[in-house]
Symmetry: D2
């Protein structure tokens, strides 16, 4: 396996979700998750988590169907951006330059083999909070939210894919992601793989789409400060009518403490907390979970909920 | 020492605070602490914590000076109310019947020796949440607040007093409170005493007023669900300009995890968390802390802050 | 319904469990839960939680079969003890005086209608920690455990019973417990009732035994300081081979955060955390949950696990 | 400023401390912090935190005086190791190859300008837990400790230095660390600088040594899973006689939740928790704190304790 220079992708920047009910979705992300609106452009609303240094962490766009728009990845330099574009094109991919997001320079939009849009960019204005959102501490971009859960950052994205391995290899060989964990079925098929661009144990995940569809979204996840925030979120969810799919509980894979809810547009949203766990080993060996091991359920024995295998939201139409 | 029937006072009901800036104080209690306004009558606003089963937990009344109005105590029955009134009057006290608070029947208003108003009552309508505040679980009076700290209940009150012992004995002999902890100076003087009507380790405290004034307030305290809520509160405080006096830290006495802030009217407010600690022993021996022991500071060694001995807010004028 | 004087039972004192593997059970309670052995007498071992002021919180006795021995209840005075004995005998019950537990005076042993042994007592020596277990703070009986979960206290007991209502009425009418919550089936049958002697929202529970057996135990529960302790306990459980039945999650009824495990003798043990929730209302209205409401599962939607309805451990043979 | 390739240093590997009381120090790290002994060689004991994938996280060596031995840094590849050695030598430094630690290949030992030993290495055997320490989850090197705090990893080191800037520049220019925060006095002098090799917000810190000494240690820090673990640690500390210098509280700089204790040999040890905070921005602007800002104390207003400026432990003699 070719080893590209590590570190050209600095981190995930933001994602775009489509929603058939923009107002309700904006209310969910602001009132329940505690994000802040940072601009609107027609049917598109830009939102940010309090510890994001960039202009936005999430883009919500009105559409007839829910689903995933763009995943944006910031590179670690201008050169790194061009190295990755070259890798895309050498691997047979193509892309288009756009300049359509506030606070960011040009984005190079391409797709993974399954068709999920990836936008690579380098130029990014650091966020400066207006007076009413100024934090007390200068090493924090914005005041901690006083409402809802108050999530810290967009943490990761989980793509449904027809062929997990092909997409994971795109991440590894073209974008330079490192695989950290995977599920291998008895048939030898890779049913899911977790990959990272950083010292976080994962930034992107591919999960096998049982329906055989392409380009769908399993979920996006926001990191909370603490596990207690996840528990508090579950209480806020039931008292405000947010649908809980499963959790709070702890994943065996990656050990993430989780809560899955649906936002009103229909997209699955995870609240996640990894405690202080990181992958620091430069030679971390890919951890493989077997079918047998998966039957044990989550870390503490909770069986995986049925809808977890079936509910997904569509791709860019 | 005479032992009155235990349990005639069921629990503290609510307190009244005066504030020179009613709007700012209401904003503090709703936005920062997460209380809900449940009615207003001229210059008086009624507020409630989410787990209070009664009409209100706090009364805010506009006045030129901050300070303490009424502490209201609910009795455990109609008979208990009359037994306690009889005890007040047998001890030489007097009182007045008023019927001036929404959701409550008649209150018998008397004072402790230091002049702090105590209102005893039995009749109390149980709160029924309006639709927008309905909780998911029927064993909870109101939805968990989606903003601010979201404190559970008014937890205790700490009175400054010229003569701690005389007031503590009023609580014990007339109201039936049980003393659980105290500070005794080398001179023999009782500098503070903690008392309870319940299985909580304290509901009311008397602390020696170094200024020799009478009827002043040291602080009122609200209980959070978790210690993490107290830590989150400290972050919210600095980001919203709430003045932190001291904490978060842990008291040696009563082991309470605490954070002291000032509300905009000038009254000191504690956020407290006792974990799951209770006093269940019916023969709990009064724990006495010496001057020497107090010099060690709080549970983990934090020295007591100077203003803690000097800042208080005045009584009913 | 007759209303006996509230408060004659001060709190649950301790329980006795039988175990076919005494050594393994002692290891579970000390290494995993963090209890301390405080004496042994032949096949019986006395253990205590760190915040118990009495000699022991749990008695483990070797037997061929697991199951429940005695539940001991401390009264609030000598007079209260005699009032309750009188009530037992007036209700047609009988009892026997024994004096067979270290640190305690005489116990009056009787049974509830289902045959679960209840031992009432007043005399109880307060625990004095030996030097190696001395706490730093004098308002705490014993140093906080440095191993395992470090549970604070024995919190409650859940009895299986053939006839829930008859037993609950024994608690209410004879012992003076207050009912706080219950499940009523569509048939009108009471399937479970939660009762308290204190400001805790429950101390004893009766749950319908689907097998129709009498005198069996559903579980005993220990309270942790925090919810985080319950989460940590789940991690310690999987890493030390302790069987997790269900949890961590949150009950709808009583809102307890829970984790159910089996100790090696076969008895079900709950780790529970109620946050700072208490029942302070002297006129708390019994909360009734319907079959329909129970179908929603636990507070956050978790379905009740099947074994919860079937696994129980036998009574005193 | 020259920008070396980022990422040649993968992470801090372990540190070596000297102690005049080896047995007491080993007991502190195992019983209180929950580390595990993984080998001994004469007067040197190797210990590991539960989430370290390498042979050891800490080396304790008996010496007359406490202080710092070696800081070991793992590179991200064999080539990276040689690039960094070349950089050391091009900058005028020298080093020695040693092969004296179990589980590791050759280490290149050099010093920073202040004389603190740095050992660079690539070869490292991944740890395989013996049966009694096997974890339940295969993505974790070792079972979670059942005693003490159970810290996750060695988190960072804080060096005292006569000239902060010179040493920070060595880290940046020679080792490729990125500076994230610093204190600049009104005189223009840099009084402290925080630097990172990873997405953690800091791995090494230089703090001005007021005594003008060289090569001394301010502290080493271990990361806990949660803030609750730090609070629990403070309770365990007071009950087991561990000296607390300051905390638990929250730093303004880096926002770390902290507790400082002294191990029995005299070295200062921090327990730290950064929540889920990371520095992901590849162009993170160095945050500078002024003297004025530092006067505000820690994040929540706690004043910095005096001994923090004076207590340090000596270098390699």
């Amino acid at each position: 396996m070719m080893t590209p220079p590590l570190g050209d992708i600095a981190h995930i920047g933001h994602t775009q979700l489509f929603t058939p009910d923009l107002d309700a979705s904006v209310a969910f992300f602001t009132d329940f998750l505690g994000l802040t609106v940072n601009g609107q452009d027609g049917d598109t609303v830009y939102l940010r988590t309090y510890d994001d240094y960039e202009h936005h962490s999430l883009v919500l766009t009105a559409r007839e169907q829910p689903g995933l728009g763009r995943l944006a990845l910031r590179t670690s330099s201008e050169e790194a951006l061009h190295r990755r574009i070259k890798a895309v094109e050498e691997s047979g991919g193509t892309g288009t330059w756009v300049e359509d997001e506030p606070g960011l320079g040009k984005l190079y939009v391409t797709t993974d083999p399954d068709g999920h849009e990836h936008a690579l960019y380098w130029e990014s204005e650091h966020y400066r909070a207006p007076d009413d959102l100024k934090p007390a501490l200068k090493n924090q971009p914005q005041a901690k939210p006083n409402r809802g859960v108050g999530v810290r950052r967009l943490d990761h994205i989980n793509f449904l894919a027809a062929d997990v391995l092909a997409n994971a290899e795109f991440q590894q060989n073209v974008l330079g992601a490192r695989p950290t964990e995977q599920i291998r079925l008895d048939s030898g098929k890779i049913a899911a793989r977790w990959l990272t661009y950083t010292n976080k144990s994962y930034d992107v995940v591919y999960t096998s789409d049982w329906t055989g569809s392409e380009g769908r979204l399993h979920h996006i996840a926001f990191a909370t400060d603490t596990r207690e925030d996840v528990l508090r979120a579950a209480d806020l969810a039931i008292d405000t009518g947010v649908f809980i799919e499963t959790g709070p509980h702890k994943h065996a894979i990656q050990q993430t403490f989780f809560l899955y809810v649906y936002e009103p547009g229909g997209n699955r949203i995870e609240l996640c907390n990894p405690l202080t766990r990181l992958v620091l080993a430069p030679d971390w060996p890919l951890v493989t979970w077997t079918e047998e091991e998966r039957k044990k359920g989550q870390a503490w024995g909770l069986k995986t909920i049925e809808s977890f295998h079936t509910h997904g939201t569509p791709p860019v139409a």
